[in-house]
Symmetry: C2
Subunit: 219 residues, 2 copies
Amino acid sequence: MTSLAEENYLKEIYKLHEKNGAMVSTSALAENLKINAASVTDFIKKMAVKKLISYKKSKGVTLTDQGRTIALTIIRRHRLWEVWLVNNLGFKWHEVHEIAEQLEHVMSDELIEQLDKHLGYPKADPHGDLIPDAKGRFIKTSSKSLLDCEEGDKVKFTGVAEHSNSFLQYLTKSNIKLGDELLVESIEEFDKSFQVKINRKERRLLSKEVVKNLLVVVE
Amino acid sequence: MTSLAEENYLKEIYKLHEKNGAMVSTSALAENLKINAASVTDFIKKMAVKKLISYKKSKGVTLTDQGRTIALTIIRRHRLWEVWLVNNLGFKWHEVHEIAEQLEHVMSDELIEQLDKHLGYPKADPHGDLIPDAKGRFIKTSSKSLLDCEEGDKVKFTGVAEHSNSFLQYLTKSNIKLGDELLVESIEEFDKSFQVKINRKERRLLSKEVVKNLLVVVE
DNA sequence: ATACATATTTAGGCTTACCTAATTATTTTT
DNA sequence: AAAAATAATTAGGTAAGCCTAAATATGTAT
């Protein structure tokens, strides 16, 4: 049985590993979980005993197969709930994270499978993040940052690399939504800002900071 | 801020008060929450300090207005989730309690109001228990036990007074559902068993134990 | 290679929510 | 009303998860 705290650690270790690769440091975990580093050291030692992670003293941690499976289960639950909150309850994409953080810890495999079915087996959550299946497998996709595109590229906006409220609300305000077609009209060499045409209609200037966090697939 | 443990105590105190009236004893709470009586004494003292309950040493506890409001909020959440689980996810009425026990602690007023709206503002849960509104108010109804009916009475089955899996599954097996019309054809004086006609079709013999736990309204 | 800065761990504590065993109150039976 | 039974409380403890302060590693710059 994994506790709420363990679930949160596993999820965060998974995320940090995805982002930075290799071992996850005590301080990174502490910062992201908003828990004191000393407490983290303490806790990961116990998790290592339970074989949820493997821990190299002063080096960091990695997930064991068992730990990864649990982490993916939590991520699956979280993303399914987010889909439900947005599609069925009418929440906005920037409003669902905190609620899903709670719902993801509800323990019932049957519930999650029924929810998945009810939602029509969605492949991604409202931010474009992929939803692992019940066995923890992802479908593969080939999205990349819009920043890696060139002038003339025509792509589809499929996800965000930054989940902050302010970024999500900026996109909403700018009327940029998942699924939109983006045509890179020009790139300003000086500041890497992008001039894009959205859905063949509106033209918009996006800063490098914004462009970096838009994930796209080539059409 | 009320903790998960406090929410469970408040809910249980509310339920026991509904059932037995007056003060709720330490032992009743201990038994129903499956917590040692000594721990209960300890905990209710702290809850009394927080003004969630009023506590008379060795006598028992009652809810304060604040405590009752919170208890009703939890009960509201629980019952709304049960409606969702049955109506939208396809669970059976005997399968939803444990899941709702977890979902009821998810903290977001906005979530519950959206859920209520999504469900079409239901008045009762799948067992016929009334759902308090956001302010903790119930609509009034005049249901009574079928045991208090007489031969010739025609009533509607609107709720159960017993929520055990075995009772709920017995009713399912006997094809007796909320909303059914029950006609009391005869009552056996010796054992108070009832011969009833269901929806003007099937005739069935119900033991006193069953009859006692069927809640009905006179049509 | 040494000194400094940063990251990590160790040691000692705290709070919440539980427990058991012993004691004291209350209720029931005789 | 006293004895016996039951219920409630007190006292002392535990585990999970957190904390701060101090000690020790590790990494970086000179």
